[in-house]
C-alpha cells in the first residue's frame, strides 16, 4: 500500500513520474490496491460495465460521424446511411445498440450484488449513492439516445417521457415546452437530444465513474463475506485477506470479459434485434407525429418502472410512484441498518425478502410488456405494492423484533395494501371483482413473511458471524 518508495524510480519512467505521478497512480490503484481475496463471479460486473462504457464511447464516436440530427434525414441516415452505405456501419451500430442493453444487464447485476452483500453499509454509503447517480445518468443517456433513430417508438417514447414533467402543477406545461423547444417533439428536440447524448451526458457519466472508483479505493472493496480486510493487517501493513488487484483480479476479469464478449457478439452477429427487445420492430417505421402506435412501451430496461406508472390512475401520483422507486434504492443505507453486511449471515426470512426483490422487478417488467388493459393496470398496481413492500420490510430485519412489533408491522403493511385498493374503489377506478383477482399477492406475501416470523422467531434470527468479520467493527 505504501507509495513512498516511488521517488527512487529511475530512468524514463522515473523522470515522468517525478513530474506526473503515473507510476504512483498505477501502484495505488492497481498493483498496490489490496482487494479482498474472496471475490466471486458477482464481482465481474463492475469492471465489465466500465468496459462497455468504453465500447459505447468508441462506437458512439463513429456513429455520430455518420448521423444527421435532422428530422428529415435522421431515420434514413441510420437505416440506410449507417446500416448500408458506411463501411462496417451495421457492426458499429449493432455493437452500440447491444452494448446499451447489456450495459443495463450488467448494472442491474452489479446493483443486486451490492444489495446482497450489503455494499451500501458503512463506510460505503456515498459509494452506493454515487452508483445510484450513475444509474440515473445512464438511464437519461439511454433515453436521449433512443430518440436519435427517429423511428415511431423513438418519437412516442420521448413524447411520453418529456410529458411526465407536465404532471408538475402550473409550471409543468412551460417546462415541457422548454425541454422540447417546440410544441411537440420536433426538430429542436432531436437536435438538443443529440447534443446531450453525445456531449453532455457522456462527460457526466465518465466523471461519475471516476468519482465512483475514487470513492471505492478510499473505503476499500466489500466482499461476499463482508470482511473489513483493512482491519486485519500483517506486519508489513498489508491486509491478511487482501491480494493486489493487478495481476490477480485483472487476470480474473479478463476471463469475465471473454465470457461477456461471447454473449455480446452472439447478439451482435446472430440476434441484433434481440427478439424485438434490443431494437423494437416499430422503430423500423419513421416517426409520425399524428399517429400513435397502438402499443407504446419503453425499452426493456425501463419496463418495470413503466408498469408502476401505468398502475396508478392519476398522473401526478403515477410519476411520483415510479420516481420513488429510485428513491427506495438510494435509501437502502437508511432502510437496512442491520450491522451484518453479507446476506450469508442474515436470517432466512431476510433472504426470502431479498430474493423477492428481483423476482418482483422482473414480474413488473413482464406486466408492462403487455397491453394497457385495465386488467394489466390492476396487476401492475399490486406488483408495485409488492415492490415497495420488499423495501418497507428491510427495517423490520434490523434486529429481532418482539411479537407485538411484528403484529404492528403486519397490520400497517396490510393496511397500506388494502388502503390503496380502497382508494381505487373510492375514486371508481376499478371494481373489487377485478382487484380481488390479484391483491392476494401482496397481502399473502406480507402475511407469509410476518406470520412466519411470529410463529417461528428462529427464522428472523441472523446467523453466527465468523470472528474474522467482527474485527475492527462489524457494527456501525
Amino acid at each position: 500500500m505504501t507509495t513512498g518508495t516511488t521517488s527512487e524510480q529511475r530512468g524514463l519512467m522515473g523522470w515522468i513520474n517525478h513530474r506526473i505521478p503515473v507510476v504512483d497512480m498505477w501502484r495505488e490503484h492497481l498493483t498496490g490496491y489490496a482487494a479482498p481475496k474472496n471475490f466471486n463471479f458477482w464481482y465481474f460486473f463492475g469492471s465489465l460495465s466500465m468496459l462497455v462504457l468504453v465500447l459505447q464511447l468508441a462506437t458512439g464516436l463513429f456513429l455520430a460521424i455518420h448521423y444527421q440530427p435532422n428530422t428529415h434525414l435522421a431515420f434514413w441516415s441510420v437505416l440506410r446511411g449507417i446500416m448500408r452505405d458506411s463501411h462496417w456501419g451495421w457492426l458499429i451500430r449493432y455493437m452500440h445498440v447491444t452494448g446499451a442493453s447489456l450495459f443495463f444487464v450488467l448494472v442491474y447485476l452489479h446493483m443486486y450484488r451490492g444489495i446482497m452483500y450489503g455494499s451500501y453499509k458503512k463506510p460505503r454509503e456515498l459509494l452506493w449513492l454515487i452508483g445510484i447517480a450513475i444509474y440515473l445518468v445512464l438511464a437519461g443517456e439511454a433515453f436521449l439516445g433512443y430518440l436519435l433513430p427517429w423511428g415511431q417508438m423513438s418519437f412516442w417514447g420521448s413524447m411520453v417521457v418529456v410529458n411526465f414533467v407536465t404532471a408538475i402543477p402550473v409550471i409543468g406545461n412551460g417546462i415541457a415546452e422548454w425541454l422540447r423547444g417546440s410544441f411537440i417533439v420536433g426538430q429542436p428536440t432531436l437536435n438538443r437530444f443529440f447534443v446531450f447524448h453525445v456531449f453532455l451526458m457522456p462527460f457526466a457519466l465518465m466523471a461519475l465513474v471516476l468519482v465512483h472508483i475514487i470513492a471505492l479505493h478510499q473505503v476499500g472493496s466489500n466482499n461476499p463475506d463482508g470482511v473489513n480486510i483493512r482491519e486485519n493487517l500483517n506486519k508489513d501493513g498489508w491486509p491478511k485477506d487482501g491480494i493486489p488487484f493487478h495481476p490477480y483480479y485483472s487476470v480474473k476479469d479478463i476471463f469475465g470479459v471473454s465470457v461477456f464478449m461471447l454473449v455480446f457478439f452472439w447478439f451482435v452477429f446472430y440476434n441484433p434485434s434481440g427478439w424485438g427487445y434490443l431494437v423494437d420492430k416499430l422503430n423500423f417505421a419513421p416517426a409520425n407525429g399524428i399517429k400513435t402506435p397502438s402499443d407504446i412501451h419503453p425499452l426493456w430496461f425501463f419496463l418495470p418502472f413503466y408498469a408502476m406508472l401505468r398502475g396508478v390512475p392519476d398522473k401526478l401520483y403515477g410519476v411520483m410512484t415510479f420516481a420513488a422507486a429510485f428513491v427506495m434504492l438510494a435509501a437502502m443505507p437508511l432502510l437496512d441498518r442491520n450491522p451484518i453486511r453479507s446476506i450469508r449471515y442474515r436470517s432466512f426470512l431476510y433472504k426470502v425478502n431479498l430474493l423477492a426483490m428481483p423476482v418482483v422487478f422482473i414480474w413488473l417488467g413482464v406486466i408492462a410488456n403487455g397491453q394497457a388493459t385495465e386488467h394489466n393496470m390492476v396487476i401492475g398496481m399490486h406488483a408495485t405494492l409488492l415492490y415497495y413492500t420488499t423495501f418497507f420490510l428491510l427495517p423490520y430485519f434490523n434486529r429481532q423484533r418482539s411479537a407485538m412489533t411484528t403484529i404492528v408491522w403486519l397490520v400497517v403493511l396490510e393496511a397500506l395494501v388494502w388502503g390503496v385498493d380502497f382508494w381505487m374503489y373510492a375514486i371508481d377506478a376499478h371494481s373489487w371483482g377485478l382487484m380481488l383477482q390479484t391483491n392476494w399477492i401482496p397481502t399473502l406475501y406480507i402475511a407469509f413473511i410476518l406470520l412466519l416470523a411470529l410463529v417461528s422467531p428462529k427464522l428472523t434470527q441472523d446467523g453466527k458471524v465468523p470472528e474474522r468479520l467482527t474485527q475492527g467493527g462489524l457494527t456501525h
Partner: protein, 173 residues
C-alpha cells in the same frame, strides 16, 4: 432552449373543410404541429353524453378546468359550438399520446359507452373527450379556440375573425 420564432410561427390558425366527414367519422387534422380531431357525432353518441352512468364516472363532467378557451365551448355535455361537430386537440392529457377512437359500446370495459381510449397508459374519454375516473390522465382533452367560417369550414386557432383567444393555452396539452 425555448421554442424559436420559426416554431412559434407554426401557431397560425388553420382552416379545415369538414364537408366530407360522414356521421360517425373521425377526421385528423394538424394545427401547431399537434393533431386535431373533428368527430361527426351521431345522435346516439350525443345521447350517451348525458347518461347518468357516464356522468358519475367523469372527473370533470362540467368542464370546469381550463381545457377550453371560454364557457361557450363547454355547452353542456357537448363541449362544442355545434353539438354534432366535435373538435378537440387529440392529445391525451397524461402523456400526449393520441387516444384510439373506440365508438363501439362495451368494448373497452363492460360499462363502456363509447369514446376514446389511450393505448399508452389506458386513459379513457367519452365522446366529448372528457376524462373518465380510473384514467391516469388528470384533465379533459383540450378544445382549441375555433369558429365556423362557413357551414363546412372551421378555423382552428382563433375564436373569431378578430383573433379572439389566439394566445390561449390549456392547462395541459
Amino acid at each position: 432552449m425555448n421554442p424559436g420564432k420559426a416554431i412559434a410561427a407554426l401557431g397560425a390558425p388553420v382552416d379545415i373543410d369538414v364537408s366530407k366527414v360522414e356521421p360517425g367519422q373521425l377526421l385528423l387534422a394538424e394545427w401547431k404541429k399537434k393533431p386535431v380531431w373533428i368527430l361527426h357525432r351521431k345522435d346516439w353518441m350525443l345521447k350517451t353524453l348525458s347518461e347518468p352512468g357516464l356522468l358519475k364516472r367523469l372527473k370533470d363532467a362540467a368542464s370546469q378546468a381550463n381545457q377550453q378557451p371560454a364557457p361557450a365551448y363547454v355547452n353542456g355535455n357537448y363541449r362544442a359550438l355545434k353539438p354534432h361537430m366535435f373538435i378537440a386537440v387529440a392529445l391525451c392529457t397524461h402523456a400526449q399520446c393520441i387516444p384510439d377512437y373506440r365508438p363501439a359500446p362495451h368494448t373497452v370495459t363492460q360499462w363502456w359507452y363509447g369514446g376514446f381510449h389511450c393505448p399508452c397508459h389506458g386513459s379513457m374519454y367519452d365522446f366529448s373527450a372528457r376524462v373518465i375516473e380510473g384514467s391516469p390522465a388528470p384533465l379533459n382533452m383540450p378544445v382549441p379556440p375555433y369558429y365556423w367560417v362557413s357551414d363546412t369550414v372551421v378555423r382552428v386557432g382563433e375564436g373569431s375573425p378578430s383573433g379572439a383567444d389566439k394566445s390561449w393555452t390549456p392547462s395541459i396539452w
